[in-house]
Amino acid sequence: MNIAVVEFLGSNCDHDAEQWSLHLAGIRSRMVWFTETDLSWADLVILPGGFSYGDYLRCGAMAARTPVMEAVKDHAARGGLVLGICNGFQILCEVGLLPGALLRNRTLTFLHQEVVLRCETDRSPFTHGVGRGRLLRVPIAHGDGNYFAEPETLKRLNDEDRVAFRYVSPEGRVEEAWNPNGSQEAIAGILSENRRILGMMPHPERASEALLGPEDGALLLRSVLGVLEGV
């Protein structure tokens, strides 16, 4: 099983992503520079969090135009798995592999806090092992996490069961008070049409070891690794 973790200039969760699979499953990811043009060897490509290219122009805009993203598009076109976390989600939207865009938080502030997510679908390699309706405690750390899409796009995402995670109250209800950044319909993560690309603002890789707090993020990695092992 081959995992690629892409490093852009300004990525800062690349090694968190690397440690994630190493500690949970003993799998050593291959760190891939943004200049790489071939990812045909990879089963799973992780676009990590950070502030690639200083968020110049728009968050994710410059990273979306680097050579490696052509390789990521090829990988996606082959039906490969892609996970974009935080800045990785922003990049996936900029490059058009996921619909919508991430705007400035409605608070106008950088938010770093634990949130409660509700898993909205088990129909994806990433959420199959998490389970629909399950609540996860994971951190967020972003300034631009306010998910926006046109009404017809939102309708499609809902109709096609492609909302992966929503921000909810500790009881598991969608309430504006528990929507930290103002995302439409409290959306925290979405899936591609073929359900093999997941973009999410919260950081599951930072919530996977008991020593550091909640371990709920581990469910997501175990889910995707379980699916890959079955292949």
């Binding site: 619909p99 865009a101 705007l103 400035r104 106008l108 926006f148």
Partner: protein
Amino acid sequence: MKARVHVFLKPQVLDPQGKAVMQALRTLGFSEVESVRQGKFFDIETGPLPPGEKGEERLRAYCRKLLANPVIEDFRVEVLEP
């Protein structure tokens, strides 16, 4: 060519920064201010354009490829000097 390209949020996209600026203006006593929308502009200078290419079309291509995100932003291009 010398050109200016304006990129701004679509009307249906909320602009919390613009709203904060509006509030600040009102707080400073400019109570007539009812709405502020924040955008950005790019001053661009180029060498000679490829044969047959028109400046405005070229600028629109810059916007579609990089300067604007069509999901959330509109743009307006202006050729200042051909």
